[in-house]
Structure formats: C-alpha cells, structure tokens
C-alpha cells in the first residue's frame, strides 16, 4: 500500500442527497486552505450539496487524501491544486489553473487560509509581522481581486472568506493577527458593495473557537464548536447571500459586548 491513495473511485450508486442534475452550469467551488480542519468540513458540506470541488492548499499529499474521500462519499468531481498564499506572483496562474480545472464554471470561492502567530513573537519579529499581515490580508486582496473581476464580468458567483472575531476589536493578546483580520473585514465590506450590483455575494465569516488542530490543547477555550456545525452555518449563510455570519451564532453577542466597552476601560483590561 502506498501512502498516496490510488485505486478506483467509481460508485455503484449516488448517495440519496446528491443531485446529479445540479452539475449543469457553474458548479465548481474553490476551497482555499482546504487541508485545515474547517476546510475539510467546508469541502464536505459543499460536495454533499452537489458541488464539484477544487481543493487548494500547500499539503498536496493531504489534499489528495481528502479528494479521494469526497469522491467516494459524494461521487462529485474533485480536483487538487497547489496554492501558496505568500507567493503573490503565482496567484494569477493559480486562478487561471482553477478556471481550466472547472470547465463548467466556478460558482464560488471560499477562503479559509490564515496564519495565527504567537502574539509576543509578533510584537518583536518584523518577519513574523509581515507573514501575519501578508497571509491573512495581502494574499486575500491579491487573490480576490482576480476572482472578483471575473465574477463581476460574468455577473454571478459567491465569495466567502473566513475573517475572525479577532478583527472586531484589537486586543493586547493578539492584535497583530487581529489587525490583519480587521483589514480583511474592511476589504470584504468594500468589495461587497462594489459587487452587489453585479449579483455577486460576499460573505464574511467570523468563527469563534472551533475544535480543530489549530485550537487543540490551547488553554482558556470555551464553547468550542465542531467543524461540521460551523460548515453547516457557513453553507446556510452563503446560500442566503448573507453579508456576515458569526458561528456559532452567540459570538455576535459576545463581540457586541466586547465592542461596547469604552476604550478608557478596555485599555486597562487583560483581554
């Protein structure tokens, strides 16, 4: 047995919820950062709903495993392609490649890639600061500019991007990351109003704590959500064309409280 899966992925029958007729028209969804715990759940959710998927990320061996899994489960077409967020000059080729992989057309793009540094290191290490801002913000601007120009011209499509509650208010515990996510949220807000008249939706996702490898073993977590529940929330929000989604929903109220604390008090707090 080799470590990369090989074999025949054919099916005798489709699972009951798979709508084969949905494959007509733009049916492909590009999931960037697909090998993260949430990325897998997101790809699963969209494939289960009858979409073909392009899984993009750095760990191709891992993505190939996920691709095999999705093909077997849902009988959809699944493609894998490399994406390096920090190699900005490759983004155009990446997007062109995605369009070639999806001859029926790309229905939407979901961005999940991100980078969470240790705050104390990010305060002193310029390279780490740049990596944080470039991965979380600059790369999204770079890629989404290509995507949105295409979708705008076509007059359809959805863009769904994982920002963070950390971007709602800068806290001393992670404000370098938070500032990049705040920039991302602002960028998406502008992009949303630009694309509104073209019929392209832009959904900003702000997840709370999710039970993935990124949070496993971290102290001080509470109300940790399962990736599949988050993926379900995101799918619902995108389907309804919503602008923002906090997931789980109660984070909206947690952040409302945090945002409403006067700065004179907030600066003395240890959040």
């Amino acid at each position: 047995m080799s470590s990369t899966p090989t074999g025949y992925y054919g099916l005798t029958s489709m699972p009951p919820h798979t709508d084969v007729t949905a494959s007509r028209g733009a049916n492909w969804v590009v999931v960037v950062g697909a090998s993260s715990g949430i990325g897998r759940a997101i790809a699963n959710e969209w494939a289960a709903s009858g979409n073909d998927i392009i899984l993009a990320g750095r760990d191709l061996d891992d993505l190939n495993r996920s691709a095999a899994d999705l093909r077997i489960r849902f009988g959809r077409q699944i493609e894998v392609t490399a994406f390096d967020a920090l190699a900005f000059d490759t983004h155009e080729a990446f997007w062109r490649n995605c369009r070639e992989l999806a001859p029926e057309g790309i229905a939407g793009v979901i961005l999940l890639h991100g980078f969470l540094p240790v705050q104390l290191d990010a305060q002193t290490d310029l390279a780490l600061m740049r990596q944080t801002v470039d991965t979380n913000l600059t790369s999204a601007i770079s890629l989404l500019s290509l995507v949105s120009n295409d979708f705008e011209r076509r007059g359809s499509g959805f863009i769904c991007v994982f920002s963070s509650v950390a971007g709602d208010r800068g806290r001393q515990s992670n404000y370098v990351y938070g500032s990049a996510k705040a920039g991302l949220t602002a960028f998406l807000s502008g992009l949303r109003s630009r694309l509104f008249k073209s019929g392209v939706s832009v959904t900003t996702v702000k997840p709370g704590f999710v039970d993935t490898g990124m949070t496993w073993g971290l102290p001080g977590l509470f109300l940790v959500a399962q990736p599949r529940d988050v993926a379900y929330d995101v799918f619902q929000a995108v389907s309804k064309g919503r602008a923002h989604v906090y997931t789980p929903w109660f984070w909206q109220y947690i952040m409302l409280i945090i945002k409403s604390i006067p700065e004179s008090v907030f600066k003395r707090m240890k959040l």
Partner: protein, 457 residues
C-alpha cells in the same frame, strides 16, 4: 510538534480513569511528527474508546487519538474493497455503504468503533462461527512504527508484523490505514429468527443443531436464573434479507432503512438503578417478549440495540462497570459455561446483558481473542474489591478449561493469568521488541499484564 492536551480518559466501563497527554493529529504528517519525536513517556493510539477497561489507556503517558484521521481513500465496488484511514468508524462505513449494497464483514455490538481499533482488538461479531474475526477481511494495513517508518503489512508482506498487529492492542505501532473487504448485501434488513430455550442444555442443543443455517447467531442469556432454569436463553439468529423476501411497503427501498432516533443518557444514574431486582424484572420481560418466530429488522436494531441509547454506560453510575468476556472450548455438557453461570447466579451480581455465542476458527493474530468454542460476555457493576475477586474466580474457571479472557474488555486480569491464556505472547514479545526496542508503544493494560516484557525477562 503538534500540541497535546491533558485529559482524564477511561474505557467504556468508566473504570479505571487515568490521565494522559492526548494528541489528535488531523494529517498523517502530524501523526508521524508525534512518533518521530515522542514526548516523555510512552505512546498509544486510541480510537473511539469503546474497549471497556484499560486497553486504550496510557496512564501518565501519551495518547494519539486517531478520530480525525478518518478519510476513505479508495473503493473498488467490483471487489468491495475499501481502503480507509484508521480513524474511520463503522458508523461512517454503514452510513455511506449500506445504501450502495455493502456491509462491514464483521461488526462488534457497537458501530462506534474505528477501523484501527477494530483491527487492534481483532473484533468479532455474531457471525464468528461462520466467518471468523475482522482479521479475515483485512487485506493489508500501513503501520507507523517506533522508528518513524511506515510499514505496509499484509499476509504477503511483513506478515509476522501483520499477525502481531491484528489483535495486537496497538502495541506494535499506529495503524494509519487499512484495506478491508466489505460484504455485498441486497437489503439493509436482517431476517431474524427468535427461539426460546428454557435452560442451558436446550440453548446448547439449539446452537449445535441450527447454527450452520445462520450467518449471525447469538443467545441472550439470563444470568440470574438458577436450578432447572440455569442458562435460560433467547436465541437470536439471522441472515441478511434478500431484496425479494422483504415484506412489501418499505418506503425507501430495500437498502435505505429508516433508522431509529437516538436517545442519550445525560447523566450517571444512581447505583440502585441496576440492582438484582431491576435486572430480574428486565430479564423476565425480555424472555417473555421474545416468543419463537421470524421478524425483519433493520441492521441498526439487530446489531446495535445499545447504540440507540447514547452513553448507555452511564446506567451503571459513577462507579462504572466491568465487562467480562471469555471463550473456552465447547464440551457436550457445557462444563465451563455451567460453572461460570452457577458462580454468577449465586453471586447475585446483576448482569444487565449477557450474551452467549459459538466461535469458529482463530484468525492467527498472535494476541487475538477468538478460538473455537463458546464465548460468554456480560456486564458486572463495579462493586470494588469483591467484584475484582469474583472476576478472578471466573478467570480461574476459564483457565481450568483452557479458555481465555478478551483483552478489549479486561480491566483486572493478573499477568500470570494472561501468560497462561495467551500462549503466543512469547512470539508477540519477540516481534514487538524487534520493532520497538525502546518500548515507545505501551498501554496501561500492557504494563499490568507484562505484554512486551517477555524477551527481556
């Protein structure tokens, strides 16, 4: 190095409870990173934690939870061969493949087990008398060993390691993925025949005369009945129903059964919930309700009656319970079985569910449990040292009759008993020490029973 989390873990019996640093890799590369630079202490892979005692515990050591390594990797519908990561659960396989006409070749009494765990315990099911244990259907597996190497193992390749890993309780390394042959089915239903047996002789006679007609065969046995009714049972035997024999009117077709809604026990019940009185009432009702006859039931109801009650182990309360399962050669008079049942019925220890079945041939796994004979499985609430003493008495009866106790259920056997029950342990230890000379992989149970220490002693 991925982060770990300090957790208190237990087996399904809720006793013992022990702390360990738990890693939960989401990628194969992360699992390899943990094994490549292991933190202080030993390491053990764990799946869904359905073994009962301390088989999946590693007190003050490290646990590698494989539940997020849960992807299907390849499926060949012509041969029915599924290749998947070790953290895939039987539930996932059933959910995905029953509607396509495939069924796990062997299933234990719960579907909440991982393939990795099923291989490590070489699990058996109601079809053991005919098909053997799950090992018979594993075409190959990838084992991540202590040196960080990934060894492909099968009957042809590294076969000694393959047979040490089947039933090897995770002590040879981390099973990363496996190829398993699924069974083709025409329907999601089982044609079940119920047959009452008023005592042990009647039950054994029924087993001996009718078992070859059934792929699945098991008897529920009342451990509290005594005297002339000792061993009063209901035989529950069945075959996969063909599409043609099913009663008309199944809404979704033969392969899409509507499974029951699951309920959950949300907290530990008080100790009096399971007393000899309540169990006696339950047993009388169960016996009376199962008159002789045929029924068509969906696979969930037939194989996994307890899974419909999530966290059913909490019925036994905070004290937890022991599950005892032994296999011993069959004799005409049922000598060993009779002695075990007599000892249990006089002890008055309530056993909510006791199950008797016939076993067929062994798989060749060096530490595998199954062997030809009869197997008896039962639950015993944890009543402290007197319960342990009772279990040791049962061990002695089993050993006298050339039998053995199932490692996936065991929580308190002695090392001496283990060495007598598992004669291949010397061969296992030799392979284990060759693969893992530093003793990276270990478990609380392995240390209690001295597994892997044979060569050095």
């Amino acid at each position: 190095m991925p982060r770990s989390r300090l957790m208190e873990l237990s087996g399904w019996g809720n006793v013992p409870r022990q702390a360990a640093q738990v890693f939960r890799p989401e990628k194969v590369a992360e699992a390899r990173a943990v094994v490549a630079s292991p933190p202080a202490g030993t390491l053990l892979a764990r799946g869904l934690g359905r073994s009962y005692g301390d088989a999946a515990l590693n007190e003050n050591g490290n646990i590698l939870l494989d539940t997020r390594l849960s992807r299907f990797l390849a499926f060949d519908p012509a041969a029915g061969v599924l290749e998947c990561e070790a953290g895939v659960s039987l539930e996932d396989i059933l959910h995905t493949f029953v509607p396509r006409g495939f069924f796990p070749p062997v299933t234990p009494g719960t579907k909440f087990v991982t393939i990795g765990g099923a291989i490590a315990a070489d699990v058996h099911g109601k079809n053991h008398h005919r098909d053997g244990s799950i090992a018979e259907f594993i075409d190959g597996l990838d084992l991540l060993t202590a040196t960080g190497e990934v060894l492909p193992c099968s009957r042809e390749q590294n076969s000694d390691i393959f047979f040490a890993t089947l039933g090897g309780m995770g002590l040879t390394g981390v099973i990363l993925q496996a190829r398993i042959r699924l069974r083709k089915i025409e329907s999601a239903y089982i044609a079940v025949d119920y047959q009452q047996a008023p005592n042990l002789d009647a039950a054994l006679a029924a087993f001996a005369s009718g078992d070859e007609q059934y792929q699945y065969s098991v008897a529920w046995i009342d451990c509290l009945s005594r005297g002339a009714s000792l061993g009063r049972s209901v035989l529950i035997r069945g075959n996969h129903a063909t599409a043609g024999e099913l009663p008309p009117g199944l809404a979704n077709g033969p392969l899409n059964a509507t499974l029951r809604h699951k309920r959950s026990v949300h907290f530990n019940l008080p100790n009096f919930a399971l007393s000899p009185l309540t169990v006696r009432l339950f047993n009388n009702r169960f016996y009376a309700r199962h008159k002789d006859g045929r029924k068509y039931v969906d696979y969930d109801e037939f194989f996994y009656p307890l899974d419909s009650l999530l966290h059913w182990n909490r019925i036994y309360g905070k004290r937890g319970f022991f599950q005892y399962q032994a296999v011993f050669p069959a004799t005409k008079d049922g000598g060993c079985l009779r002695k075990l049942l007599q000892r249990l019925s006089t002890s008055g220890r309530a056993s909510f569910l006791a199950v008797l079945k016939t076993m067929g041939k062994s798989s060749g796994g060096l530490l595998s449990f199954p062997m030809p004979g009869h197997t008896l499985a039962l639950d015993i609430p944890n009543g402290g040292p007197t319960t342990v003493a009772l279990l040791r008495e049962l061990d002695a009866i089993v050993m006298d009759h050339g039998g053995r106790v199932y490692l996936a259920k065991d929580a308190c056997m002695t090392a001496e008993s283990f060495q007598r029950m598992y004669p291949n342990v010397g061969q296992f230890d030799e392979i284990k020490n060759r693969l893992d000379p530093q003793g990276v992989f270990s478990s609380s149970q392995a240390r209690r029973l001295g597994i892997g220490e044979g060569v050095m002693a």
